[in-house]
Amino acid sequence: MTEENRELPGRWCMCKRDFGVAFWIAFLAACVGTFVIFALLDPEALNDAWVLPWEMGPRLAYSLGFLFLYLVSLFASGLTIFMVRTGPRRGHARGEGRRPPPEIREPEEENPDLDLGDLK
């Protein structure tokens, strides 16, 4: 967490807000996903003895479906927050803030004897 994040007004620090957003959005996404999937798919159809040797009741199927979607969404939203909170905007390897793009010049400019030859 960088300094500027802590100074944003509010009762919660940025980190808490991030977690809140991740958990809540993932929950919403998982709810929608569960509705859609089980509107189209009969949980009885998941009972394939060839894959699962025991029978899974509809309640367990609904719950596992929801939890699975929740975990996947949580993974996606958590990673998304991590990716946008870290990265180039946060600056420099040595913690010096954002740096300008490196300077480029003609190699011979300061080194008149440098014969680039096959490097050209």
């Binding site: 300008p100 190699p107 080194n111 004897d113």
Partner: protein, 462 residues
């Protein structure tokens, strides 16, 4: 704190387009070899046939994966898990050992970008020519070169998309479908999807993927330690940097070895300056090592101003690349690899599940015999037909009756009705009956199955 730094985004500045300068040398050669091997495997493998089957084919509708003569079934899920664990561990191992080897040599983003840049260089010329061409007004030559490049890129991307789908749908038939314009809708969709992805990633996004989109780039620093081999600029030796003439005595000028030619920046595909220190944008392609070594050679200095080294080695002139972390990762990798090989070698190509008939507990037959009915789901995972025999282990009282002989074609799945008959005196309630399913022609293919047989409880004088 200023208003700007609070919002962050207002500091945003568009960075100039990167025209990486071509580089030759040890590491460039290594990467060319990696590109040839990896893309060679990708484009050639689906055309090779092993044992009458495409060498690598993921047949999703049939739920079977054919890989180098092995057939994997959904039940072989454990191998997929092992593969993922191995991939994860390898990433830890190689990152701890020598940083982002994956990014520099093996990542599809790098490999395809290399190829696209190679095509670009072939049609538009080297770095200076490309920069000039982009600045020039549109004229006949510019149109010709730009259209030519785009056409070559699109063709190559389309071939890539076609090959990708060829891993999921037999590629020879797919080729015929393309030729006769009779592709199915999903095949068409996925060919276009993968082609567009290749074109976008390798033609347009390039280093932006590594800088902004790739999570590994952000995580990898957690896998580093002070003994990890990383590409570093030797600050002590290089600074103070500055231009000079070849005959100049650098000591009297108070200069280090860096002549500030900025070639290391010009060859960098992500446009960073390695002299700023380790940066997460560095994909460890080692182009800066190659070019700096050549410049040092031309100036008559020792090579290795930019080199693979460790933080420890740079600071204290000592390095221990082999360390407990490496040994633990290495040992784990080796153990999983050996375990996988052992389990593949001892894989029994037969699966059998006995499922009780749900409609009846048991049936009483004349002569105090109790009958239980099951469905035997049997899968011959071998690529040859087999006949099997089902017997009760050490239990002569059990009589087994099947509704059809246990002859299965190669890769056949069958459901067979099994009737187990036991004398009433064999027990009360649930009894475990050990059965053995064995191939008649090759006895090493066998499975043991436990059948749960129901017998009368004997309550109320029955």
């Amino acid at each position: 704190m200023t208003e700007n730094s609070r919002t962050g985004d207002s500091l945003y500045r568009k960075e100039p387009k990167i025209y990486p300068r071509q580089v030759k040398g040890r590491f460039a050669r290594l990467r060319v070899i990696a590109v040839w091997v990896l893309l060679g495997l990708y484009y050639v493998l689906p055309w090779i046939t092993i044992g009458g089957k495409q060498s690598v084919l993921f047949d999703l509708p049939a739920r079977k994966f054919y890989i180098f003569g092995f057939t994997f079934w959904p039940q072989d899920f454990v191998y997929l898990t092992l593969l993922l664990i191995t991939a994860g561990l390898s990433l830890f191992f190689f990152t701890a050992l020598a940083g982002r080897l994956w990014c520099g040599y093996a990542c599809p983003q790098t490999v395809w970008t290399e190829t696209f840049i190679w095509i670009e260089r072939l049609i538009e010329g080297d770095r200076a020519k490309r920069m000039k061409l982009d600045k020039a007004p549109w004229n006949g030559e510019k149109i010709l070169r730009k259209v030519g490049k785009q056409a070559a890129w699109i063709l190559f991307a389309a071939w890539t998309g076609f090959t990708f789908v060829g891993f999921f749908s037999p590629i020879r038939e797919l080729g015929h479908s393309v030729m006769s314009l009779s592709l199915g809708p999903w095949e068409t969709f996925w060919i276009i999807f993968y082609s567009v992805a290749t074109y976008g990633n390798a033609g347009f996004l390039r280093e932006q993927v590594c800088k902004y989109m790739c999570p590994y780039a952000r995580f990898q620093s957690a896998m580093f330690d002070k003994d990890t081999l990383i590409i570093s600029y030797d600050v002590n030796r290089g600074e103070p940097r500055g231009g000079r003439r070849k005959k100049d005595d650098k000591e009297s000028l108070g200069l280090g070895d860096c002549i500030n030619c900025t070639l290391c920046v010009q060859v960098c595909p992500t446009g960073i300056d390695i002299r700023d220190g380790l940066q997460y944008e560095c994909i460890a392609c080692a182009a800066c090592i190659d070019v700096c070594d050549q410049v040092m050679d031309k100036m008559g200095y020792e090579p290795g101003l930019v080199r693979y080294t460790t933080e420890h080695a740079l600071k204290h002139n000592e390095g221990h690349v082999i360390r407990p972390r490496i040994m633990v990762y290495g040992a784990l990798l080796l153990a999983i690899l050996l375990g996988t090989i052992w389990s593949m070698a001892n894989r029994v190509p037969l699966r059998a599940d006995l499922i009780r008939d749900r409609n009846a507990l048991y049936r009483e037959l004349p002569g105090d015999v109790i009958e239980n009915v099951y469905t035997l789901k049997i899968t011959n995972m071998d690529d040859a037909p087999h006949s099997y025999r089902l017997t009760a282990v050490d239990n002569p009282q059990v009589e087994i009756d099947l509704d059809r002989p246990l002859d299965l074609a190669a890769e056949e799945v069958a459901g067979i009705i099994v009737r187990l008959r036991l004398p009433r005196a064999a027990g009360k309630g649930v009894q475990n009956v050990e059965l053995e399913l064995e191939s008649v022609d090759s006895p090493e293919i066998r499975r043991e199955i436990t059948a749960k047989a129901m017998l009368p409880l004997g309550i109320g004088g029955r």
